[in-house]
């Protein structure tokens, strides 16, 4: 079940403004999670690997957004699972326990329970879950194992500039506001994200999605079709029983 107890909810606060794009977060994540390197090709950007992958739970997205004042402006955003309160992946998953909520409010996975249907990949508003070579789901799990041991997530621990901070979600939000960040991306989206972003500029500049939402077909399926699948079956069984008692079975002698 969703962890609505925001008092205990932990989060990562990303402050892209102070990110220097060193990618230490990527390295420490690989190190802690024992993920292999990925062979990639230079496509004219420092962004590497090009996207999240089964061996890359987080990446730094590099956007070149030149402005009048700054003709060579690079924007860096550390990207990982958003740990939505209202998580599309968990909604659509058919295998109990394959995606689950940790007590810190993060969305973690149990690859032994994953059946490899890949529906979560398509229901995620942020295109986060990936499948490994064995067809099992992988993604950032907010280092729940480290948190349990009283440590910070690996990426946060290694970040040299404070662009990644970990802590109590409500506290992180109020700190960021005190620091003068006008937009806290993820404060309200999808019931509140577990990966928050503090911006002074438009989040869109950094490639953040406007109004992220669970796909409408998944919402319809969850709120209409699922209840109907129970009520419909119950209804026809009840209707048959009532018919049998009230009208009764067909009798031949009453036919012509």
């Amino acid at each position: 079940m969703a962890n609505n107890n925001t008092k205990n909810r932990k989060a990562i606060l990303v402050t892209p403004e102070v990110c220097i794009g060193c990618r230490a977060c990527q390295v420490s994540c690989k190190s802690w999670n024992q993920l292999p390197g990925i062979k990639t090709k230079n496509t004219g950007t420092y962004q590497n690997p090009p996207d999240l992958a089964s061996a890359a739970f987080n990446i730094i997205r590099y956007s070149e957004v030149p402005s009048q004042a700054n003709p060579v402006r690079w924007l860096f955003v550390s990207r990982r699972c958003m740990h939505c309160e209202d998580a599309g992946c968990m909604k659509i998953c058919p295998a109990p326990g394959a995606l689950y909520r940790t007590k810190e409010g993060a969305v973690a996975f149990d690859r032994d329970k994953c059946i490899g249907c890949k529906l979560c990949v398509n229901a995620c508003p942020f295109d986060v879950p990936r499948y490994d070579e064995e067809g099992k789901v992988t993604k950032c799990h907010l280092c729940f194992d480290r948190i349990d041991a009283g440590m910070q997530p690996a990426c946060v621990k290694t970040c040299p500039t404070g662009a990644l901070r970990f802590g109590d979600r409500a506290e992180l939000i109020s700190t960021a506001k005190q620091e003068g960040f006008g937009t806290i991306y993820g404060e309200e989206d999808l019931g509140g994200l577990g990966s928050l972003y503090a911006f002074k500029d438009e989040p869109k500049l950094y490639g953040m999605k406007d109004d992220p939402a669970i796909p409408s077909s998944v919402i319809f399926w969850n709120t209409v079709l699922k209840p109907f699948a129970v009520a419909g079956l119950g209804g026809v069984v009840a209707a048959a029983a009532i018919h049998y008692l009230a009208v009764g079975p067909h009798k031949e002698e009453e036919e012509v």
Partner: protein, 201 residues
Amino acid sequence: MAEMVKKSSGDEILNHWILAVSCILLIISGYGFLFQIETIGSLFGGFDTMKTVHNWVGVVFILSLLYSMRHYFKDALEYDADDRQWFKVAGGYLSHKVKVPPMGKYNPGQKLYYLAILAAGIAIALSGFVIWLIQDNAGLILFAHLVHNVAFCIFIIAVPVHIYLTTLANPGTFRIMVNGMVPLELAKKRYPKWMKAAGKM
């Protein structure tokens, strides 16, 4: 012993049982996935195995459904004035006092049921194959997921009605799916136009 007429052939009966068993297995495992029901998963030996069973039983189901077209499809497309009258009296199901018009081999309820199952069956199979086999096309997979679940809703309404009407509601009908035979006297009452066409009336 009373004279019997053969309503269903051997291959039709066998195919119908394959359809019935596969359909029910698919519905049960489908509920297991839809509501993450651990008990159903355990019945199939875990969710991973249940997924494999669901996929391959789905293949059996759609092949069997397509094969069934040779038994029912032609009849299911033909409707006459008596069929229209049949709807007006709701097939005589709501009251035994109404006069039900004479029927052919199948009544229009059965014919429409067949077309509904055929359409929903093809839709659920195609969408199932998309979910199973296609990768990296979120729009298509989400659409298939929706189609799969809408078709599922058609099945869980239509199939129990079909089972009820061919067992408890119409005693004697179930035997057709055992040996294919109907007593001639009963067939004359239930399928007069078919019997006339066959020269038995």
